[in-house]
Amino acid sequence: MNRSGATRHNHEHSKIATVEKDALLHLDRLSKHFGGIRALDEVTFRLEENRIVSMIGPNGAGKTTLINVVTGIYLPDSGEVYFQKEDIAGLPAHSIASKGIGRTFQLEELFGSLTVLENAMVGGHTRSRSGMFGCGFRVASARAEEKRMRDETMEALAMVGLEDRAFHSISSLPLGERKLVGIARALCMKPRLLMLDEPVGGLAAHEIEKFLALIQRLAKEGLTIFIIEHNMPFVMSISEQVIVLDQGSKIAEGSPEEVKNNERVIEAYLGEEV
């Protein structure tokens, strides 16, 4: 079979499998308002495992708010969030993170006083256990765990191509590399679901190429990836499923082709190239 044939075959296979699999992430009429503004209005969708899903929408549509609510930074006002069939709405952010949801931030939110390596190692926090006394007295188990985490983190850095920068300070890195640190940090959580908030904003074309390759590689390794982006060519080329948000409501969902030709989507983006 040639390449496209193999792809088609896999697609058929996964379509059947979808019907039986439960969603990795399921949002059910999720709502969040700030004062008078409805940032999220009964948003509902399902995210299947091992897919690359993008969310697009005009500025202010509520996309970042959605990630913030799912990851527990904000509390929802109504609606449900299920992750791996578990109801996580209302849990504190650190609990949700330890269940396997990793994320990056639009404005990176890196830890300025830590090196690149240390930033990424923070991601590994939930996968280690040493406590205050273990760390303070440098007991053997703490030392061993530190070495293990360090090695794993270097691997993550290598995956994003930053292993040479491990001991640099954050402030010395250009934007593209800072974004990669954010991703490495999230990867160190070994999450099931990775939520990326505008990961390629401000990057040069060749950096976006590298990033595309990275995403595809991560997807092949079993990660489910949820991307918020404005860069349409990027979204269209990488997504299996696209969800469109406008003023807090989901107005379209489907394959990139379907969404591209959707009337409401075009309207929402009036004037923009889709």
Partner: protein
């Protein structure tokens, strides 16, 4: 004394102290709202007002001139503080501002000790008249002066903030600093003004209260903290601070009178801590469906 006269007496001393706390609270609030600085030298302004008034009176000036000179000097010191200590900070953070003003308070206190000695000082009451008897309690004219100063300060500030352009600009800055800057308001000048204002008001309060409670190089800390308590409890609102200051004074007056004097100061601080903590508990009902 009968119970009634006791109550009235405590109320009188409470309102006296409360008036001072109210004014000091306004000094904190003004600087905090405009400059986002917790100015720990506020208490020292009060101390300086009384001390310098004593100095000038001793040098032969009349009451009014001594008062004006003392206030002017304190305003000058406050402005020097802003210009040379607060403004030059290169990477301003809340903590650095705090440390700077704490350090400055220390400096002022120490210099006062060297310059004015360690004994408590006092000045003559403004009006030489006999105290009035109310329900068996004694109301001295000085108390009326203190309350009078408070009323003057309140009305003066209110007029200034609501009627003058400068005052309106001040309110605008307090509400939205960036917006204010964008319309051309010079923040440095404003900060300078607010520090000076705090210095002047503090000095006035200090001068007014000295005939009653005396003054000394070390009174700055507690007086300042009481004002801070009032400002915090009131959530940095101007009228709220006045009310909170008065309430604090009254609570203290009755507490010290009927319970004990030693813990009086601790009481005010305890209230501040409780209020600060209570404010962190959200009032609005949020959708917290489960605990972790």
């Amino acid at each position: 004394m009968t119970l009634l006269s006791l109550i009235v007496q405590y109320a009188i001393s409470g309102i006296t102290a409360g008036s001072i706390y109210a004014i000091v609270g306004i000094c904190w609030t003004v600087v905090y709202l405009i400059a986002q600085v917790l100015n720990f030298t506020t208490g020292e302004f009060v101390m300086l007002g009384g001390m310098l008034a004593w100095v000038f009176l001793g040098a032969g000036f009349g009451l009014v001139s001594a008062g004006i000179l003392a206030t002017a000097c304190t305003v000058g010191i406050a402005m020097i503080l802003e210009r040379f200590v607060v403004r030059p900070i290169r990477y301003p953070t809340e903590m650095i501002y705090m440390m700077m003003t704490i350090a400055s308070a220390s400096v002022i206190k120490g210099i006062s000790l060297i310059g004015f000695g360690s004994e408590t000082r006092t000045i003559e009451p403004f009006i030489a008249a006999k105290p009035i008897r109310i329900f068996g309690a004694s109301l001295t004219p000085q108390v009326i002066c203190v309350v009078g100063v408070l009323i003057l300060v309140m009305s003066g500030l209110s007029l200034f903030i609501h009627r003058t352009v400068f005052g309106k600009a001040l309110r605008a800055s307090a509400m939205n600093l960036t917006g204010a800057r964008l319309v051309g308001i010079d923040i440095n000048k404003f900060r300078l003004f607010c520090f000076g204002l705090a210095g002047g008001l503090g000095a006035l309060a200090g001068i007014a209260i000295t005939p009653i409670t005396f003054t000394g190089y070390s009174i700055g800390l507690m007086t300042g903290m009481k004002g801070l308590v009032a400002a915090i409890v009131a959530g940095w609102s101007m009228t709220g601070t006045v009310l909170a200051g008065l309430a604090l004074g009254l609570l203290e007056g009755f507490g010290a009178g009927f319970i004990s004097t030693g813990w009086k100061d601790a009481f005010a601080l305890f209230i501040m801590i409780v209020f600060l903590i209570l404010k962190t508990i959200p009032l609005s009902r949020r959708l917290v469906r489960k605990k972790p």
